[in-house]
């Protein structure tokens, strides 16, 4: 579920970065005010614990497969929402830096998707009310599963929204949703089971650990980031929907018309094509926003009318056979040159 840079547009990535950075700053400030000193080493060690815990699998009852802990929910249970969010963010950062598990541009999205929902929504609004106090054992299991499922569903849905808004993947919204949500439903159940298993063990052996978790008072004051987050989520959804409805002329259609000589796509499977068109319209809109100046130079600008030029720069440069060949050849040459430069730099004795 860690998103890669290759599927995110700078606009979406940048927006979510601002959101996540804001949340990190907020949590940092909150912790400074209220933090017990010994949270500093504990947060670090628990982050390391999450990594280690992911090495160990358990067999999922009823199926043949195995699963492991994600960690968002149990961190929230142990540390409270604000500290947990920071720990989750730090785990994701290390994964992005050292394992390329999630891109740097997408890190903001990943932190939001995997951190915000478990810590600020699933934990305070689902786990805590459901699990109650010491309560019954089965209640805490149910609470963990429901909370984990909800947190992951929201996260998965965000992934879909962010990917669609970026316009790089061609997956239609509906298909994408159908792909992501059921899978993450299963993952959510697994997460809930794993979390509940560990929590119930700790509750049995060292209940004071759970009792010491910072909770209560912070839930009330912690409401603000939740509301802000929900507002932002609403904005993103609203934006996505409005882009669906956009009727911006489609560069792909124009280019295809040029290639095939037909002015419009008349497909036999009208349904798919209509869907496709809707997708193209939406996806053609966002990726190049802010970079329309890119059309300024090059052969493409000389072509036909200003309108064509504007539209063409939104699609891709190779439209006719001539330019497409030069693009390919040039691309190969460039790659070769780059490799050569790299090789030369490597072999040179660089005086320190």
């Amino acid at each position: 579920m860690h998103m890669a840079d290759a599927l995110i547009s700078p606009a979406v990535g940048g927006t979510l970065w601002v959101v996540s950075a804001g949340l990190i700053a907020y949590c940092a400030r909150k912790l400074k005010q209220t933090m017990r000193d010994n949270l500093v080493p504990m947060m670090g060690v628990l982050g390391a614990f999450i990594f280690a815990a992911q090495m160990i699998n358990f067999s999922i009852p009823g199926t043949g497969s195995s699963g492991h802990l994600g960690g968002g929910l149990i961190l929230s249970v142990l540390l409270g929402p604000h500290a947990a969010f920071l720990v989750i963010a730090s785990v994701l950062t290390v994964q992005a830096f050292f394992f390329a598990d999630g891109g740097l541009l997408a890190l903001g999205c990943n932190i939001f998707n995997l951190g915000f929902f478990p810590a600020f929504i699933a934990y305070p609004f689902i786990y805590r009310p459901l699990a109650g106090g010491a309560g019954s054992v089965s209640r805490s299991w149910i609470a963990a599963i429901v909370a984990a499922v909800v947190g992951l569903q929201l996260g998965a849905f965000s992934v879909v929204l962010e990917t669609k808004a970026s316009g790089i993947s061609e997956l239609p919204f509906g298909t994408f949703v159908l792909l992501m949500l059921p899978i993450h439903l299963a993952i959510g159940v697994v997460e809930g089971l794993a979390t509940a298993a560990v929590v119930s063990f700790v509750a049995r052996t060292r209940p004071e650990v759970l009792a010491a978790a910072p909770v209560a008072a912070e839930d009330k004051t912690g409401l603000r980031p939740v509301l802000i987050g929900l507002a932002i989520a609403a904005l993103i959804v609203g934006g996505a929907v409005s882009w669906f409805a956009s009727t911006h002329p489609d560069g792909l259609e124009w280019s295809i018309a040029k290639v095939t000589g037909k002015e419009e796509i008349s497909g036999s499977d009208g349904g798919i094509h209509r869907k496709l068109t809707a997708v193209q319209e939406k996806t053609a809109f966002l990726p190049d926003y802010g970079f329309k100046s890119a059309e300024a130079a090059g052969v493409n600008a000389e072509k036909a009318s200003a309108e064509s030029a504007a539209v063409e720069s939104e699609s891709w440069p190779a439209v006719t056979a001539g330019t497409s060949v030069s693009g390919i050849v040039g691309g190969l040459i460039t790659l070769g040159l780059v490799c050569l430069i790299g090789f030369v730099l490597k072999e040179r004795r660089i005086n320190v």
Binding site: D5, A6, P10, G13, I24, A28, R29, D37, P41, V45, L46, G47, A48, A52, A53, M55, N57, F58, L69, L86, A89, S90, V94, A96, F98, G103, L104, I168, S169, E170, P172, L193, A194, A197, S200, F201, R206, L252, I256, L276, T283, P287, D288, S293, G298, S315, W316, A318, I328, G330, G331, L332, I333, T334, V338, C339, I341, L345, K346, I350
Partner: protein, 268 residues
Amino acid sequence: MRFGNWFEIGRMDELARQDTPVHRLDARAKLLATGAFIVALMSFSRYEISALMPFCLYPFVLISLGRIPFGFIFRKIIIAAPFAIIIGIFNPFFDRQPALVIGSFAISGGWLSFASIIIRFGLTAGAALALVACTGIYRLCAGLERMGLPRVFAVQLLFLYRYLFVIADEGSQMKRSLELRATGLMPVGLRVYGSLVGHLLLRAMARSERIYQAMVARGFDGEIKIAQKTSFQSADWTFLFGWIFFFTVARTWNISDWLGRMLAGSAP
């Protein structure tokens, strides 16, 4: 997941401690340049391929000058690729309109955009890994903090990194003793799992208490100060603005296309 590869992190760390011109650059310059790289790369349209090629220069230069083994980076990219591939592979299914015609051979837009996704994945992941391999977590955190990252978070990153090996060691020891005793019963059931991971958790928390004792014994009062003594040199400015200039040029004009047509023009 990829946790057989703890040595990989250790390796990254080793690589980061080399001394090359790239290593000596200020972390902030490298961070900003890599950021500009990723933004420029991801701002291309879906179908762009040839214009991406000049961008390969950035990670290649970092890797070569930084004496980072290319295979090391490449392997990590391959391991991380599945998500991008899984999402991207749908493109050829949904976008079947021919977009590129070479002779009588037509390639659909979907394949083009898929290829573009894969190339961009390789480049962005490669650049990020190269960045870390020639900077190291410590200088990265210090640089990020100077650029505004909250201290609490920077400290958290450093502590997490520090105890990653220690806790992971305990985890893998546990896993090993489990494997030695539970032949045929792997993976374990939920109850045993809860106990295993629960123990790991309790030990981690006990350790954090001991760390806290040690910190208090040396005067810890709630705030950790990260020593930072770097400032931007001319090399850092040159690096940053040189690359930004290059990215801007490569984003604005399709260098590959230009090269290709130059050659086509000079061909008989």
